[in-house]
């Protein structure tokens, strides 16, 4: 039996990658669990949107092949991630990360008074329709690019003080997630500060020392007009513009650093690929329950690297990768404290460095 599917977005962050298809011939939903690399918050190359039709064909073939084994189980809601896809009113309602931003804006405009969550429910659809009517847009309840653009009208970017001449020397960026600020340092001194939006509590911006590894132009959608990818080894994170400028200064993103489009355009010209980006601030609960071996990646490794540095055994950049420098530093600590000569980090190493349980 042929099944028609519509791809509705990215899978949930840090969960099994789950692509959701709406089956138009059935009242229920067909779900298919596919293991792929961590979802990218940033646009990947090629962008998923651009290969949309190809992906749909592949997915349709997979569904045809595994059709009988796919559970026809109606999930309560559909969870979708950062995307430029239009937000559609559905039954049951879709859960999408950008619905939170939408609700915040609608409530700022006095059109919505419900809970600020990620569920695109009927109340929100009603508010969107009312907004669209007031802006001479078709009151479809579909939040597309033109609706996002209209929602941004009236958001004022704070005046930034006139920038001093850029000092000579290394340029690096520091993002402080506690105060939602991006600071530009040049030649060892603070040159300029930009307001940003950073990750929500459930999707915190990754603390550590990263590098800009890619840059690109965008057309003004969810990623604004420019984006710069970071080399965070788990998931795709970066610094980009936004079509939801009212979120700047808040904890609103999926972990990326959002900036006003004007700001990211300025910064984009300033920082080349390879620029260091130090992110400090809130970090998620860390799990030191298992020993770490070379090759391990994750926020726990960042914490271990920080602790090694504080302890006097610099393991290089705190980049979340348990590479040769980290291995060497752990080996030194173990040797000096009589815990062996191996380069893997045992529970005793965590206890010694006081990183466990954080």
């Amino acid at each position: 039996m042929a099944r028609e599917g519509i791809y509705t977005g990215y899978p949930a962050h840090k969960q099994d990658t789950q692509l959701v298809f709406i089956n138009r011939r059935h009242p229920s939903y067909s779900t298919l669990r596919i293991y792929v690399k961590e979802w990218p918050c940033l646009p990947s190359k090629p962008r998923l949107r651009r290969s949309h039709s190809g992906l749909l064909i592949v997915m349709s073939v997979i569904i045809l092949a595994v059709g009988p084994t796919v559970k026809h189980q109606a999930p309560a809601m559909l969870r979708v991630h950062e995307t430029d896809e239009p937000l559609l009113p559905t039954t049951p309602p879709v859960i999408r990360h950008d619905v939170y931003d939408l609700k915040v804006r609608l409530s700022q405009l006095g059109l919505y008074e419900g809970p600020l969550d990620e569920v695109y429910d009927s109340e929100t659809v009603k508010a969107v329709k009312a907004f669209q009517e007031s802006y001479w847009l078709h009151p479809t309840g579909i939040v597309d690019r033109s609706t996002w653009r209209a929602l941004s009208v009236g958001v004022v970017r704070p005046d930034s003080p006139a920038a001093k001449p850029l000092p000579e020397g290394e340029i690096y960026l520091e993002v402080d997630t506690e105060v939602a600020e991006l600071r530009v340092y040049a030649g060892g001194t603070l040159w300029k500060t930009y307001p940003v939006a950073v990750g929500k509590w459930a999707t915190l911006t990754p603390v550590g020392e990263w590098k800009i590894v890619d840059k690109g132009y965008e057309s003004g959608g969810a990623f604004g007009t420019r984006w710069m990818a970071l080399d965070v080894p788990w998931g795709g994170y970066g610094i980009h513009g936004t079509n939801r400028p009212w979120s700047i200064g808040t904890y609103a993103s999926l972990g990326c650093v959002r900036m006003f489009n004007e700001d990211i355009e300025e910064l984009y010209e300033l920082v080349p690929i390879g620029t260091r980006v130090i992110i400090v601030g809130y970090r998620p609960p860390l799990d030191f329950g298992k020993p770490f071996v070379p090759g391990t990646i994750g926020p726990e490794v960042v914490r271990l690297q920080e602790a090694l540095r504080e302890f006097g055994f610099d393991a290089g950049p705190t980049d979340g990768r348990y590479g040769p420098l980290t291995e060497q530093a752990v080996r030194e600590v173990r040797e000096v404290f009589g815990l062996g000569r191996e380069g893997w980090a045992s529970r005793d190493v965590f206890v010694l460095l006081q990183v466990e349980g954080q």
């Binding site: 006097g312 000096v336 009589g338 000569r341």
Partner: protein, 382 residues
Amino acid sequence: MKIRAAAAVVLIVAMLGCGCQEHAPLPSKTPSDDVRILVWDAKEPHLPGASPYSELACRVAEHYAQQFGIAVEVQFKTRQEMESLLLGEYQGEVPSVVFSTEWPFVGAGAQDLTGLVPTDDYLEPAASFWTYDDRLMGVPSYVHWLCTAKRAGTDNSSGMTGYLSGSPGFLHSGLDYGSLDWTGEDICTYAEWVRQTYGLRSQAVLDLWRQNRIEAIFPVTPHLFKWMKLSENGGEIHLLPIDNPEGTPRFYFSVPGYVVMEADEEILEFAVGLAQVLAAARGRWAARAIGCIPALRSDIPLFDVESGFTREQRVLLMTGFFDSDARISDRTAHGHKIRICQAVVEVIEEYLSGEADRDQLEQGIHAALKSHTIQSTGEETK
């Protein structure tokens, strides 16, 4: 008794004011223009009560360079890199001065410093430690020890002692002194004694210590002892000798120092002077930060005042060191022990964790040593 009395005399004399005395005779000649000394030193953890060692070493080197108008470069290397250098396995630029770590040995390319370093300035056993074939082969820095650390006021029940069997110190402290040797039989005897005396091995000894589920740990390095004291928040910890199958508990001592590898006679004098200055600086750091005995007699007051040990503990360590007859090993013996440690550690851990019985331990150790012997023979014939 004589030795104890001598140690006491040393302590008293030292406390009577040798502390401020300038010691090492430094180079007297004017350097030629292009004297450059490369130093390999080891990093140390940042510990309360002392400035970071790497900063201290750089300051000392900078001062020395300015004093004599020479260039000094300090590179911080891992302990394994230094071991590899002294074992003759390193292929790059050889430094003029290198730190020989907590497991010191007379390495490849070490210069004879007899007559260049005034051995009378050092504690006699520290200078003797570095004397090999009647030649002084390095500048002693401080006295490193291994002990058993135990919470004050707790019982001695075996189940309450954790041991770190993955550490090289585990075999060194058990086999280096007394009648046991590094043969397969003796290693088995020692491992069996440990299991019978202290029970099966625990996985995370420091975690158990922190949770008060064990009351003693061995072998404990000065660094670990400091950590244990800090983690106790002022609670008293006793410093005890490590027990052994012979029933003659003792501390394990070694004397880390600086080896001079500079072959150029023009530069040698400056390298020796720098080695002495660095050895003294590290010795003082070790006394302050981790409670080790400085090798320089004139620095003993630092140990007395800043080590954080009681008089009884200081006397215990000092007399233990004077009685220990610790001697530096040569490159062959050191390399042999390293390879044995690497070969048998897994087998011993299996036995001590209860995964293997005595027969399997014996078989495993003999197989490991046999393969090690074959490897060694292969290396020797190359």
